[in-house]
Amino acid sequence: MKATYLQAINLALHEEMRRDPNVFVMGEDVAVLGGAFKVTEGLLEAFGEDRVIDTPIAESLIVGAAVGAAVLGMRPVVEMQFGDFISCAFDQIVNMAATLCYRHGGHASCPLVIRAPSGAGVHGALFHSQNPEAWFTRVPGLKVVAPATAYDAKGLLKSAIRDGNPVVYFEHKRFYRSVSEDLPEGDFTVPIGVARRRREGGDLSIITYGGTLHQALDAALIAEQQDGLSVEVIDLRTLLPLDREAILAAARATGKVLVVHEDRLTGGIGGEVAALIAEHAFDYLDAPVRRVAALDTHNAFSPPLEEHILPGTDKIVQAIRSLAAC
């Protein structure tokens, strides 16, 4: 069945709520409206007011209350209307939820999913375009995922809901209706913590995730067609824990790595990935570990600015060429 990225998320919610009566959805405008992006559409009709809850505008409350329900065995899936507003729930995520199991001596679980529609390229400007993932990937006790395909969107959301820990689930707004694929019927999951090779290639490896996956694939194709280069593309999918083995295997196999993300360069996850490689696959490297990412600024609104700021296929192609030439 063909499904968009958005439909895949919606389907996962439907199926998980049907499977487990403890799963419920909570957030601003998620019930009657079906969400600002319609991701939760139909859930209210299917599951009723007790399982699809419109809340006041209070992100800290939303996450905190979800923690309270989760430690008592519920499986809340909460929505930040835009991922940008996750900053308003920051303390509840990084201190309350992330330390919960640890500070209870391992005797607690907090099965909580925080859905955060994120990403740029939709004229969203400073406060509707952020890629906040790296604020969370440095926090033990959390898991962080960022699917880039409809299959992964569905499979990772199911895994996140079934996980006993707080999972921050970044879904890319630009993909909601622009990314789709045929999904297998019925239940399937995608494991948290496992990267996926999206394209084989021996000349160099691109390591990416989320917003830039499809651009990276496009760039790899262009580099093959125009330059005869064979470019591997690894989709991290999970950002915490990182799939170290997959990252290091890619670096060892091709010796040339390009790390790509839509988040800003400085302090993005690319730094961590490059550092892992520079430490643990150094002897295999034939060239510097390069990064292509958004410029170190806020995501500006005006199209010439946003285009300049964001990575994108052209910049990736250029980086492939220059790295291949090293």
């Binding site: 419109d54 406060f127 410029l295 170190d296 806020h298 500006a300 005006s302 010439p304 285009e307 300049h308």
Partner: protein
Amino acid sequence: MPEAVLTEATQEAARTERDLQLYYAMKLIRSFEERVSRLHRQNKILGGVYSGAGQEAIVTGVCAPLVEGDFVAPLHRDLGVFLARGVDPGVLMAQLMGRVGGLSRGKDSFLHAGDLSRGVFGATSMLGASLPVAVGAALKFQLKREKQVAVAFFGEGTSSRGDVHEAMNFAGVRKLPVLFVCENNRYAFSTPIEKQMAIEDVAQRAQAYGFQGYVCPGNDLLSVLELSERLIGRARQGGGPALLECKTYRYHGHSEHDPALYRTKEELLEWESRDPIPQFERYLERKGHDLKRLREEVDARVRAAIQAAVEFAEQSPLPAPQEALEGLYAP
């Protein structure tokens, strides 16, 4: 000229002058809002557009008593504050179109930009986050023994956020010169007020912070004006903060993308019957103005102003790509 020697006639003339200014301001805001919605449909404005049509009396009435040096933090629906505080309509339109002539030089769209030279503070999108900032402006006025005031607008939905509480509480503790203005339009996106709070009036909250709350019909410019003059005047004299709740309604959806299916047509119609502009026009008529002539005259001025604004904005260039890295830091 000290107030005492103003003759009745002079006072009356001043009031008439003010009435005409307010009328023009409301009409300008309304037309500007509608033009923005149209430009959005035409894809000439790309960002999110949150129309304040229907709520013009509030921004107009609250801004009227403000003077130079005062500080205002508008909410996402308060395009009118910019106009009421004298921001050039062309500059505002350029802002919405992402041009260099806009307040943020294309960095953000819509109202995430301010004009600090006119005391208009640019909000972030995070609802309620401007209230602590307005309180900080009021703190500055207090510490420096200045007679300025700060005004912070917020929606009834926003009142649920922690920042609103923290800000009001501190304002109460220090008796800061700040007026909190709640534009209660009954909905926060699709969420009706009953799901937002268990009380009738946001104004009730003021008591929890040791100051007074007031409710007024937000579509009645004269009511808004009377209260805002009183409360801003009192804050200016050291009388401390107040909370003014204005009951109102937004005509459009939450944003221009929102068909607002979560509310009834009747409700909309009922509120349209209380539109702030005809209400004020009836007052002007009672005051003896020739409404037909006045309306024609004002409409013409408004049309011209907006036409000029659109022209200015459309002629203003888009920023050069490399500007993306400029303006991150103050020099």
